[in-house]
């Protein structure tokens, strides 16, 4: 009987946490933000993605960071966190079966679902400024 009295509030507490977490708006955790901004910054700083500026003026690191923060703000408006995380998990799973399926690098990405490909294309377009056209279905 005592055990029931101990367990009941615990269940109530758990239920409360689950309900509260369900009610709170979806937001990107800081680690995902850092990863996306790092992706953008590495693209610019490595010279692999070009940023067009007035009068061929190169962006310095602080300008680049401001640009990446702006891109991040746009990205989270377009891509729900759940879609971004699902695409990462599916990419992980695609690599997991890469050897068995005799994939080359391109196949790893081509085996993703149309929705994942769209998320991937949006990530490249917004965070890297790369426009790869419509994702292949």
């Amino acid at each position: 009987m005592k055990l029931i009295k101990t367990v009941k509030p615990f269940i109530a507490l758990l239920f409360g946490v689950v309900v509260l977490s369900g009610c709170s708006p979806e937001h990107y955790p800081p680690e995902v933000k850092t990863d996306l901004i790092s992706l953008c910054m590495e693209g610019i700083l490595s010279g692999q993605t070009n940023v067009l500026t007035d009068g061929d003026k190169a962006l310095d690191a602080s300008d680049s960071l401001r640009l990446c923060e702006f891109r991040y703000g746009e990205f989270i408006k377009k891509v729900p966190l759940a879609d971004y995380l699902a695409q990462q998990t599916h990419l992980y799973e695609s690599f997991q079966r890469a050897y068995r399926q005799k994939y080359v690098l391109e196949d790893v990405y081509n085996s993703l679902s149309p929705k994942d490909k769209e998320t991937f294309a949006t990530t490249s377009k917004i965070m890297l400024g790369l426009d790869a056209g419509e994702p292949k279905q």
């Binding site: 009295k5 101990t6 367990v7 009941k8 509030p9 615990f10 109530a12 507490l13 758990l14 946490v17 800081p30 680690e31 995902v32 933000k33 850092t34 990863d35 901004i37 790092s38 910054m41 690191a61 602080s62 960071l65 990446c68 995380l85 990462q88 998990t89 990419l91 992980y92 690599f95 997991q96 890469a98 050897y99 068995r100 005799k102 994939y103 080359v104 690098l105 391109e106 790893v108």
Partner: protein, 110 residues
């Protein structure tokens, strides 16, 4: 009233168990970090060697073992402390060393 008083220890135990569980989870790299690290490792291997030809051996277990080495060499708490600083244009020495070690392990550098 007695019922409420009797419920307090239960709620406290529940709270402590939850805190302990979440603390235990913080000790190991969460799934998001594991996937990210292994994707980095696999992408690099496939970029370097398998853009044209499929792999002759399964590289996924190779990347999994590098990740296991990462877990042993850089405790999650230490990595998290650096990661939580956000993107740094100018990294302090400690953060730069840790990140160099992190990527070095995933790239299979001795």
């Amino acid at each position: 009233m007695r019922k409420i008083i009797l419920s307090i220890p239960g709620a406290l135990i529940g709270f402590v168990v939850m805190m302990a569980t979440s603390h235990a989870q913080e000790q190991t790299y969460p799934q998001y970090e594991k996937e990210k690290a292994i994707i980095f490792c696999m992408t690099r291997e496939y970029l370097l060697q398998h853009q044209e030809e499929p792999a002759e051996k399964d590289l996924f277990p190779v990347c999994e073992s590098r990740f296991a080495e990462l877990e042993n060499s850089i405790p999650y708490e230490k990595y998290k402390a650096v990661r939580d600083k956000g993107y740094m244009i100018y990294k302090d020495n400690q953060s730069a060393e840790l990140l160099e070690k992190y990527f070095g392990i995933l790239m299979g550098k001795p």
